[in-house]
């Protein structure tokens, strides 16, 4: 079976199979098969194929979409279906008619993606006329590197966390940022620019000590209070991972926020963190998902917890909770970054989108939709005081420590293993 040309008509993709036009309306079929990576990369350019999953060694499963013929002349439905089925086996000879793809922005879904849409995507489309397609993923770098390796990228701008950013930049799956395209970067937090040459931080979040003011009038002030179960009875919520937890243990042991990573670099510092965690161990209720930590705090399962400020703000705004955030205890803050996939065919539009998202107006709008702070401090000028009160401001960040993902890239495997051994004892 021969594949004909792929054409664009009236902005819609039409595939010409032999002499039948198929258009993207209605009926969809999915097929699975497998073929070599390079073959698929070539075929992908013709827009037929939506890769579902890829194995790095060369064989892949694929799902492709095909479309119902609008105006078939001779054949009945069955015959056309049969011809389209032939496509799967004719991929080898696939024509490579380049088909311009819309700028695609990818984040983690949920409230965060809603905020990105409301504060960045919709205003950007309104002001520039650039159409944006959205997608979601779970943050796994493998999902990105698989696309770049096969040369079949469907995404342009991705929301990544710092460890994936550093790692991905080292492994060459992201473009380097053209900093001059971003306009005025003088008010950016340093970590928004310094973490990696491949990404720009666009939000600040923090793991912060929180408790329910409705249940506890005189709340804890420090992480040492968090450890003090005599003064504040009840369970403590901590995330079931060493990342963040070891830092908190050290702060509870009297290490200033600024010195946490210096201490952890020394093996004795790691021992010290585990020894401190030992003291609290019987009183810890571990959480794995952010939603769990909020649920535990709301139900009174735990008296206080270390959770993400965005989650806490969402509970306060949405469910009218009175969860207080103790910024002065010292938090561990982090950023989400925008990065551009290597070889993106919409690189220029992607840069414009990122520049827009980092502008003071978009950054001021963003915290209205989700409880994360801006990385462009210019956004704080003229921001509603009630919203500023919920966010990691400059002073609050000064009392905190920036999560050192370079440290965690080097030590995560070893410390996760040790943490799991410790937790299971």
């Amino acid at each position: 079976m021969r594949i004909g040309r792929i054409e664009r008509r009236k902005g819609r993709t039409a595939a010409k199979i032999d002499d039948h036009y198929v258009s993207p309306s209605g009926y969809k079929t999915q097929l699975m098969g497998s073929c070599k990576v390079d073959t698929l990369a070539k075929a992908q350019k013709t827009h037929f194929i939506d890769v579902m999953s890829i194995d790095r060694d060369g064989l892949m499963n694929l799902v492709y979409k095909m479309w119902e013929p609008n105006s078939y002349r001779r054949n009945d439905m069955g015959a056309v279906r049969f011809k389209t089925l032939g496509l799967a086996f004719a991929l080898v000879g696939a024509a490579s008619a380049a088909d311009a793809r819309d700028l695609t922005v990818v984040s983690f879904g949920g409230a965060l993606q809603d905020a990105i849409r409301a504060a960045f995507i919709e205003p950007f489309t309104a002001s520039s006329g650039t159409k944006i397609v959205e997608d979601t993923y779970d943050g796994a770098l493998s999902k990105i590197s698989a696309q770049v390796e096969t040369g079949a990228a469907k995404w342009d701008v991705v929301d990544v966390e710092s460890n994936q950013l550093i790692q991905g930049c080292q492994e060459g799956v992201f473009e380097e940022i053209n900093w001059s395209s971003l306009g005025d970067t003088s008010k950016f937090l340093p970590a928004a620019k310094d973490t990696s040459p491949c990404g720009v931080g666009f939000l600040t979040g923090a793991m912060v000590l929180s408790y329910d003011k409705a249940k506890l009038a005189e709340g804890p002030q420090t992480w040492a209070d968090f450890w003090d179960v005599n003064k504040f009875p009840g369970k403590r919520g901590l995330r079931f991972t060493p990342k963040g937890t070891l830092e908190i243990a050290l702060m509870a042991d009297g290490v200033p926020a600024a010195d946490v990573y210096k201490t952890l670099e020394d093996p004795a510092g790691v021992d010290r963190a585990f020894a401190k965690l030992d003291q609290l161990k019987p009183n810890i209720t571990w959480w794995k998902l952010g939603a769990e930590s909020i649920q535990q705090l709301a139900s009174g399962e735990v008296a206080m917890t270390a959770s993400f400020n965005g989650r806490i703000v969402a509970a306060n705004r949405g469910e009218k909770r009175e969860f207080d955030m103790v910024w002065n205890a010292g938090s561990i803050y982090f950023m989400d970054y925008f990065a551009i996939l290597k070889g993106s065919e919409n690189k220029e539009a992607a840069e414009k989108f990122i520049a827009f998202a980092l502008g003071a107006d978009a950054q001021r709008e963003f915290p209205k939709h989700v409880g994360y702070g801006p990385t462009n401090l210019a956004a704080f000028e003229g921001m509603d005081a009630a919203i500023v009160a919920e966010l990691p401001t400059q002073e609050r960040l000064d009392a905190s420590t920036f999560r050192n993902d370079q440290f965690w890239l080097d030590h995560n495997d070893e410390l996760t293993q040790r943490f799991n051994v410790w937790a299971a004892q």
């Binding site: 080292q170 492994e171 030590h411 051994v421 937790a423």
Partner: protein, 393 residues
Amino acid sequence: MPRITRSGIAAAWLLTPAVLAAVVCLIVPLAMFLVRGVSNAEIVNALPRTLTSLTAWNGEGLPPDEVYADLASDLRHAAGSGSLGELARRMNFMVPGYRTLVMKTGTQLKGDVPESRPALISIDKRWGEPEVWQLLRLESGRWTDSYFLAALDRKRSADGDVVTVQPDQRIFVDLFIRTFVISVSVTVLCLLLGYPAAYLLALAPRRWLGVLLVLLLLPFWTSTLVRSTAWIVLLQNEGLINRILQGIGIVDAPLPLFANRFAVLVAMTHVLLPYMIMPLYGAMKAVPPDLVRAAGSLGANPVRAFFRVYLPQTYAGIAAGVLLVFILALGYYVTPALVGGPRDQMVSYFIALYTNESLNWGLASALGTLLLFATALFYVVFSRFARVGAEAR
């Protein structure tokens, strides 16, 4: 032995899609998965020259200058081709911090640095220590056993002997034992609860059977995630059960029902119970009720009639149910992750952790392979045992 006929061959062609599907969807991915657990490709691909010249080194002190020059040249090449990141990740699995060592060296070599021993040592002094070279010498083959050793809490020392890792890193042997213990417990619980339930189904009059089957199948059709989450609502300290118990004054403080082994056993048994009941029900439907009556009329009391006549006829159902539940339980992930505590996570949790978080696919593959072999071994032993049991009756 059936005779091979022409029509038989023609009929066999109809199996082609099934055979192809098995090869493409099962055998090929499985083989690649197994290979990943022993493949040393990251090192071999990134450092071809270094590994060749290292073979001349006897492993004492530091290697000669040529090895340094080859390493610098390999790293410079790797930094240009993008294989540096994979090498860095691979090296970091063996010694924490080697990621930075490799990345830093590779990145600096992109500039105008000479390919020599002093240049490498000035980039990072760890190149002047024997450890990294001994490690490279150990891992210079096309294949490696380090992932499988790691999956059994073992590693190779500098002189190549297999040694146990330090106590604060020992986790996997316990993990396999724990996975096995949980799976056996769940299987036993399912059998104890499922047998009477299946018996009830088999005896139920026709008009009740439909209702009972729906009651059985309704949870079966509900997502595992939903059912596991429901147990959180019931079992946690502020959950329904503890509230009721405290409300009617049976207990003062909440009972520890959640985030422990109890919760895992309850939730997993609940999720897996239908897999036990269905084969049991099938086996029991095939038992003629006359036989138990006949045993009674020949003088057996009901207990004796059950154990001597009824039970042996359901052995096939028991074997199928036990096999199904045990094998499914071995691979369980969501339920223990949701309702269990740190002491209740099973092998799959760590496979997911190493696949998604640290991208240590070699170790994930080794763990998966060991689990697969344990399952296969169980299957072979158990099905033999079940056959012997069936023949003995």
